[in-house]
């Protein structure tokens, strides 16, 4: 049983030493260590939260970017389409205009050709008329060069003019 009876001396020394250790360490070790640990943990938690927030923002931005990209793509394709349409329209309009112009030119040309043809024909007619008059003049001159012939022709004409 002696093993189970505590010695007062050792008890007192233990009590004194333990309390001394407790008060010294509380002030100089546990206090600073615990505050340091707590500070670090809150720091780490804050950084993780910040990282999380940034990641969320990033993903939000990414989705926004994607949306923007999609919009831009849609816009560009719409613009392309519009441009194509415009081009087609312009080309078609130009074609129409050109056709009209060409037709007008052709019509003008035809008119001019017609006019010149008519002018040419008139001139030819005139020339032919003159030639014919000249020929007739020369024929008449030769036929009516003598006085007899002239008389004869005068009497012929006089015969025709019958006074009714």
């Amino acid at each position: 049983m002696e093993l189970l009876t505590p010695e007062l001396g050792l008890f007192v020394w233990t009590l004194v030493a333990f309390l001394a250790v407790f008060f010294i360490l509380r002030k100089f070790a546990w206090g600073p260590i615990m505050t340091a640990l707590t500070e670090r943990e809150t720091g780490i938690a804050a950084s993780i939260a910040a990282a999380d927030r940034v990641r969320k923002e990033m993903s939000q931005m990414q989705s926004e970017n994607e949306k923007l990209m999609m919009q831009a793509r849609e816009e560009s394709s719409a613009m392309l389409k519009e441009a194509k349409e415009t081009r087609d329209r312009i080309v078609a309009e130009a074609k129409d205009l050109a056709k009209i112009e060409a037709n007008k030119i052709i019509a003008d040309a035809q008119l001019q050709i017609q006019q010149q043809k008519m002018a040419a024909i008139t001139e030819v007619k005139n020339e032919i008329g003159k030639l014919a008059v000249d020929v007739a003049e020369k024929v008449l001159r030769t036929q009516l060069s003598t006085a007899d012939a002239q008389n004869h022709y005068a009497s012929l004409l006089a015969e025709e003019v019958k006074l009714n």
Binding site: M1, V21, A29
Partner: protein, 393 residues
């Protein structure tokens, strides 16, 4: 955790039932006759007779008991030891202060005192006065060494935090201590003490490291059996008991002396039981640590002693037993290393549990449940424990 507890209980049962059953019983029976046991008388008589045979229980009890000498080894039948200072309070003569070497290992008396070797070494006043021995014994010196170590280690670690800043990675001893401190905080203080845990952290950390470092110092060959001494564990248990008593709130005392919702007749039965259980708590703390460490020391010493017991029978048997004994004692040393930490943890944890019971707030069920993440199903009345990703009914 399960396996550790198993080991510590294994060693306890093994030690208490096999080893002490023999050596203890031997001692007690011899002591109960109120006479010096024969082998104890040998010690008093001197070395000549003693060396005839090997007395295991004398060696073992010599090691686990306290002493006014720090015995290192025997050289040519003479013990080589440090004589420690003796401080005695005599009710009439007052304080006395001298070296234990004056006793010449119990052969001489000095100033009216002499050293008595019972199962424990004891200073007795020859005039029969009840003296109080405040000597710096082996245990006290061992404790003072541990105190110096503790103060040095912990303050240097604390300095490191100040020097290196908070957000740098811990280095060296700081790195070794940080998980332990974190473990005490997260596994011991927070679950048992709730949001008030910061108030009790210094106490829990001091208890844990004080017990642990003393357990480890006790394992060094030639070391003292400090935490295996009932005065020490009693002192520590008293401290945790006082903390528990002084932090007890109205709710705690109310439930102790006037349990609500209990018929008056039952109260007469219940209150004494509650009061007894209040005092049993520190006693259990005291005996658990004491018995565990004492048992460990006894087992290791017994296993080593077996070499010499067999050696006394025949030299061949002694040498033949060396490998067996060594293997077993190495195993025991590793086990004791574990037990040193586990017992420190258990003492700390139970202190936290007891203090936690004392400071527990009155149950406002809804509040409490909301606090612990527990949800009550209004329809079925079933309690669910809701953690992050699972629901446990």
């Amino acid at each position: 955790m399960g396996s550790r507890r198993f080991f510590s209980s294994l060693i306890l049962t093994f030690a208490l039932f096999s080893v002490s059953a023999t050596s203890f019983a031997q001692h007690e029976s011899s002591h109960e006759k109120d006479d010096m046991a024969p082998h104890n008388e040998d010690v008093a008589h001197g070395h000549g007779e003693k060396k005839k045979g090997f007395n295991a229980s004398e060696v073992i009890f010599g090691h686990i008991g306290d002493s006014h000498y720090w015995h290192l080894f025997d050289l040519n039948d003479h013990p080589v030891s440090l004589s420690l200072p003796v401080i005695i309070y005599h009710p009439e003569k007052g304080m006395e202060f001298f070296s234990a070497s004056r006793f010449e290992h119990g052969h001489a008396s000095y100033n009216g005192y002499h050293l008595e070797h019972g199962m424990k070494e004891k200073i007795v006043s020859e005039d029969g006065a009840k003296i109080i021995d405040f000597s710096i014994t082996k245990n006290v010196l061992s404790m003072l060494i541990s105190v110096v170590l503790l103060l040095w280690i912990m303050t240097s670690v604390a300095k490191k935090y100040k020097k290196n800043g908070v957000m740098t990675a811990p280095t060296g001893f700081q790195n070794a201590l940080e998980p332990v401190i974190g473990f005490i905080r997260d596994e011991v203080a927070k679950p048992n003490l709730g949001y008030k845990y910061m108030r009790y952290m210094p106490l829990l950390l001091t208890i844990f490291f004080f017990i642990w470092i003393n357990n480890l110092l006790g394992l060094i060959p030639g070391g003292a059996n400090f935490t295996g001494n009932i005065a020490v564990t009693g002192c520590l248990a008293l401290i945790s008991f006082l903390v528990m008593i002084f932090s007890g709130n109205k709710h705690f005392w109310g439930h102790l002396f006037n349990p609500p919702g209990v018929p008056l007749g039952v109260k007469f039965l219940l209150v004494p039981i509650e009061i007894i259980s209040l005092f049993i708590k520190p006693v259990a703390l005291m005996i658990r640590l004491f018995a565990n460490i004492l048992a460990g020391h006894i087992v290791i010493l017994s296993v080593i002693s077996m070499i010499f017991i067999f050696g006394a029978l025949s030299e061949v048997a002694g040498w033949g037993f060396v490998p067996v004994s060594l293997a077993f004692s190495i195993f025991m040393f590793f086990l004791e290393l574990l037990v040193a930490a586990i017992q420190a943890f258990i003492f700390t944890n139970l202190t936290a549990v007891f203090v936690g019971q004392a400071i527990e707030e009155a149950h406002h069920h809804d509040d409490a449940h909301a606090h612990h993440g527990e949800v009550r199903n209004e329809v079925t009345g079933q309690d669910y424990h809701v953690s992050k990703d699972e629901i446990v009914a």
